[in-house]
Symmetry: C2
Subunit: 350 residues, 2 copies
Amino acid sequence: MLVAPDMSRTDEGEAGTIPQPYLLFLGDTQVAGFAKTALGLRDWAPERCVGEYALPGAAVTTGLPRLDPAAAKAAGARSLVIGVANSGGFIAPAWVPALVEALEAGLDLVSGMHSRLGDVLELREAATRLGRRLIDIRMPPPNIPIATGLKRSGKRLLTVGTDCALGKKYTALALARAFRTRGLDADFRATGQTGILIAGRGMPMDAVVADFAAGAAELVSPAAPAGHWDVIEGQGSILHPAYAGVSLALLHGSQPDVIVVCHDPARTALLGDETFPVPPVEEIADLTIRLGSRTNPAIRWAGVALNTAALDEAAAAALCRDEEQRLGLPVADPMRGGAAFDRLVDSCLR
Amino acid sequence: MLVAPDMSRTDEGEAGTIPQPYLLFLGDTQVAGFAKTALGLRDWAPERCVGEYALPGAAVTTGLPRLDPAAAKAAGARSLVIGVANSGGFIAPAWVPALVEALEAGLDLVSGMHSRLGDVLELREAATRLGRRLIDIRMPPPNIPIATGLKRSGKRLLTVGTDCALGKKYTALALARAFRTRGLDADFRATGQTGILIAGRGMPMDAVVADFAAGAAELVSPAAPAGHWDVIEGQGSILHPAYAGVSLALLHGSQPDVIVVCHDPARTALLGDETFPVPPVEEIADLTIRLGSRTNPAIRWAGVALNTAALDEAAAAALCRDEEQRLGLPVADPMRGGAAFDRLVDSCLR
């Protein structure tokens, strides 16, 4: 069963796929963690991105060419993707003039925010006037069932984390790619808006009504052949004061055989919620194993994915080595690869 | 801040309160656990119930007079409340003729199901034709914020459980009543459809979009004077394969000072999910304390509420005594009261 967002339910009621390539909109973002959609598309689907567009004062860049909507259109772009998220997932009023400019330049708008593009009066009016599409990918499909908790065939890996926005999606993408490199049948399974834009399908987990969230997670990785791996993008953190419920529903519905804990050693407090310290990786692993064993008693912790973007190569390698020794499990930065990452892949497939 | 469901958003777009008194509809229910709305209203708001109405073959009764819609209307009823739930919360096709009959008899329909009354064509048509209201109370209010996790003033107690539908709401109602009897300022806080019908306000937790569920839980028990108690109705179970995400969001958002674990000793497997054993009370307590300490490090387990409805009085008392000795905490059936329940109340207020 494919689990694509229902693209027929745009505000125009039109059916269709997401128009590509994209112009990535960065808004006025100051923190790279909030630009994860733009950065994720640059890293994992660069062939679909012609450039970036930011408001004055933005402090984040993808490194792609800076193009205004008219220049992007001339370069072949067919849509502007809102490449930033904020806490709550709403379309900031400060963004609206730039979004209208994109519509006027002939681009459709693609959003993974909670609020609908068409709920912003200026966007709805401009799209109608210009005959452009407003495409909301954070809309779950209809008729999601209540979870059964029953075991499905095939193998599953879930990336879990000590916080939001620190590498769960990248780790899942890198592991799925490594599994395929080793000749295995493996799929990356997207559970958030960026992953859905990268994979072309998936489930916007955090937009599902709470009672159905575990059922939605069961749809993400349907029954598969015994040797097949689903590598599932984790969401939030089991100890995040706002999002832990989503994380737990995804854990129970994913029934993973293997978990990899994702962590950013440079982050001491939760992103956007600084009164909360980031918990240790072993606490996340222990809680995840305890809770996850409810739907898969064979659940197992394979290792840690560290996001060492803030460190130089020597410091990153030393940190992974120290953590590997401390925990007795492989610890690697999937974006750096190398022997440490090979050991992590070995451990996942053991 | 009051957290009433938005009654203005009925299918007719009419504003208003829930028309009372009620005729309780039991459908074709075979299992008392699925009739918890009807049984809850009978037990906690009997003055608002004129009778019950069931389909042939139903095996559950509230003990209230059996009245068809016309007789209920003659006895003063103003609405028929769907008093049963099924897994998934949908309006069963077999119920529709009886619901149309109620509309024709002059009753409005009140539903706490997930699916909207107006989504059933026959009900929508009949309500329009007859000028009757279709009232869905399982609709969360608009503009729920993302949870902050920040501490609020006042005291909070959350009832948690080893499964669904085994006494979390009754325990919360009984504790709130006992707190008030002792002269404390205490409110029962409803988080499900039955509780909302009893309390006249509350938050339908399981109908909130997952990303906002903890934020919704924060609205349920707003900041209050230091001596005030909110006694919050728990939902689901932290180890339920379908609903644990809702339970965890409610736990984090409730930031309880005190938890009481609710358990039905007669139940060995989850209701409607028989492949899953009911976990021990101490496992639920331990996980709840670990996860709940994230938003309230002072969280404390006060005792156990046993649902001993299946036992005679002597057996119930013996079981509570044995469990109290085994756990070293008060264990009581709130519906039986007595010295054991007094000890449980003492422990909550310690």
